[in-house]
């Protein structure tokens, strides 16, 4: 099953937002090759070097694999900033 291994490795499914932040930050740093990238809820694609349409999809697919979730095309397209991205991940995590 996609991504379950990663999720279980981090201690089950009851992940809090702080943990989601850490994982998402790692994904961004790794995908965009920006070791010192700092994300805030208000960070948008305009603020991050290299966060273009292709890399946005690569980020989303990497996150899908990490968390074992899936986004719809509309959700992928509608993410305005990192805060929304995190909220969306959080909403898809099992309670």
């Amino acid at each position: 099953m996609r991504g379950t291994g990663d999720r279980n490795a981090r201690g089950g499914t009851d992940m809090n937002k702080a943990e989601i932040w850490d994982i998402v930050t790692d994904v961004f740093r790794e995908t965009l090759d920006l070791d010192n990238l700092v994300l805030t809820p208000a960070t948008t694609a305009r603020d991050v070097d290299g966060w273009d349409s292709l890399n946005h999809i690569l980020l989303v697919v990497a996150v899908e694999r990490k968390f074992g979730i899936k986004f719809s095309t509309g959700e992928i397209d509608g993410m305005e900033n990192v805060g929304q991205f995190i909220d969306l991940i959080d909403s898809k995590m099992p309670a």
Partner: protein, 499 residues
């Protein structure tokens, strides 16, 4: 009716805004807006309303059916009906004359002679824009990503709203319908000033800058048409058309946004200092943003998401570096990019230049993955490298504009005239600097104002929101005098009205 006509500025707009304000809180508000939009459109030709109504009524009906429960196959069939009807109607008006002309040319070439009567139906301007916007409604209902329109009146207003009818900005159903369905608050004094400043600034850019740039573009084109072109003429043509295109299209957008703001509608921006882009992908996040975003959302994203997920499911790496290997580069990078960009070219019409322009940018976008020159320059030279990347990207854009605007037989001579600049023995300083001076003077204004917007990570017009009233008044006066002194009065239409 053109945004730059006196009847629009001094009769149509004040009357429509006035009536809207009187009936703002009643159901008549949208009745006024939709009727006013139909008057606006019918002023060009009454029959233009026919395809507009067909599109509106069809998609509204299909939307109702899509929002009810039904099997996946049934819903997909409804979507296919919507897409086929909309794109079919658009293709009929856009490509039929071109297909008939070329068919006849083929027949003439083989000695048969023209057999099919030429279709002399003008293209209903704005059709490419409202068709896409109406399609966004059925697509998003199919995906269950929005609620259906509350009434037919709201939907008719959404498709026809005059401020964005002629040339955008392209607003998806979910972005505009919600605004039309509710009673919008009166705009404040600050918002009114902002809206009027958008209109004044748009008028200045169109009449004093874009049309004068256009004069230079036509002059240089004349050298290629009638005289021997001088060295570097193609480069000046690219500069001048870059100036004309940007000032023209962004002026239209400013007036559209200002007009809409007066009736409480917020419209997205279409440009964000595009000539300060450091790379091809950066450029397309700044140029004609609403169209690019529309096509990328509905075409590019689904294709690439599917391709990347497929790779990931097979356990293959999906990092940006991994996608540079030959197979993923074709399936996940270059293929979807070139396909999407060629659709953008086809959307503009059946002309070699449009397709060539978008394919050229598709190649630039793909090659940039292999050669990220901006990243190299910035890491090597810091802020100097960033400005170098901006200069390089601007010149790549100018070369593209030769393809977009140049006549097919002039494209190669224009491109060839650029390297001949290095032939100093034959350099024609009088012509080159004579026209170059004009371009520099005109270009200095948008360069300076865009730089002010760029510094704030936005566009110049964003500054109007926070500018104090005295500064606004001074800028409006400057625009007025600029218009009076430099404005061309031959009423050239906005470039994007042809689409």
């Amino acid at each position: 009716m053109s945004f730059i006509s006196l009847e629009y500025l001094f009769v149509y707009l004040p009357v429509v805004v006035g009536l809207y304000l009187v009936f703002r809180k009643t159901v008549l508000a949208n009745v006024i807006l939709v009727l006013a939009s139909y008057v606006f459109y019918a002023a060009a030709a009454a029959w233009y309303l026919l395809p507009l109504l067909v599109t509106s009524l069809l998609d509204f009906t299909l939307g109702r059916m899509l929002s009810r429960d039904g099997s996946q196959g049934y819903r997909r069939a409804l979507l296919i009906v919507s897409l086929t009807a909309n794109l079919g109607l658009l293709a009929f008006f856009k490509y039929t004359p071109w297909v008939i002309d070329n068919f006849n040319l083929g027949l003439i070439a083989i000695g048969v002679g023209a057999a099919v009567p030429t279709l002399s139906v003008p293209f209903p301007f704005g059709m490419s824009f409202y068709t896409f916007q109406s399609m966004s409604y059925t697509i998003e209902l199919y995906r269950r990503e929005m609620q259906p329109a509350k009434s037919l009146l709201d939907y008719l207003t959404f498709v026809a709203l005059w401020a964005k009818l002629s040339a955008g900005p392209i607003m998806r159903a979910r972005d505009l319908l919600g605004q039309l369905e509710r009673v919008r608050p009166l705009i404040t004094a600050d918002e009114t000033r902002y809206a009027l400043m958008l209109i004044v600034w748009g008028l200045f850019k169109k009449l004093a800058l874009a049309d004068n740039f256009g004069y230079i573009v036509d002059t240089i084109d004349g050298y290629f048409r009638y005289d021997a072109p001088f060295a570097g003429a193609g480069l000046l043509f690219g500069y001048a058309f870059a100036g004309q295109m940007y000032c023209d299209f962004s002026a239209y957008t400013d007036i559209a946004r200002g007009s809409a703001k007066l009736i409480g509608i917020d419209m997205p921006t279409n440009f964000r200092t595009p000539y300060f882009a450091v790379s091809p992908s950066d450029y397309w996040q700044r140029w004609h943003i609403t169209l690019t975003r529309f096509v990328f959302s509905y075409v590019y994203t689904p294709i690439v998401v599917r391709a990347v997920r497929k790779r990931a499911a097979r356990g293959l790496p999906v990092s940006p570096k991994a996608l540079l290997r030959p197979v993923p580069f074709v399936t996940c990078v270059a293929g979807p990019t070139l396909f999407t960009m060629s659709l953008l070219g086809l959307w503009h019409g059946a002309a070699f230049g449009f397709i060539a322009f978008y394919l050229y940018h598709g190649v630039l976008l793909s090659l940039h993955r292999l050669v990220p020159f901006d990243r190299y320059l910035m890491s090597r030279f810091g802020s100097v490298g960033k400005w170098l990347a901006i200069v390089i990207m601007f010149h790549l854009v100018c070369v593209g504009f030769i393809l977009f605007r140049g006549r097919i037989e002039a494209m190669v001579p224009m491109l060839w005239s650029i390297p001949t600049l290095l032939d100093f023995a034959h350099f024609d300083a009088r012509h080159f600097f004579g026209l170059g001076w004009g371009i520099a003077v005109l270009g200095a204004i948008p360069a300076l104002t865009d730089y002010l917007g760029y510094r704030k990570n936005g566009e110049f017009t964003d500054l109007f929101k926070t500018l104090n009233p005295y500064a606004c008044a001074a800028l409006a006066c400057a625009c007025y005098f600029g218009l009076t002194i430099f404005g061309k009065r031959d009423g050239a239409q906005f470039i994007y009205f042809q689409f």
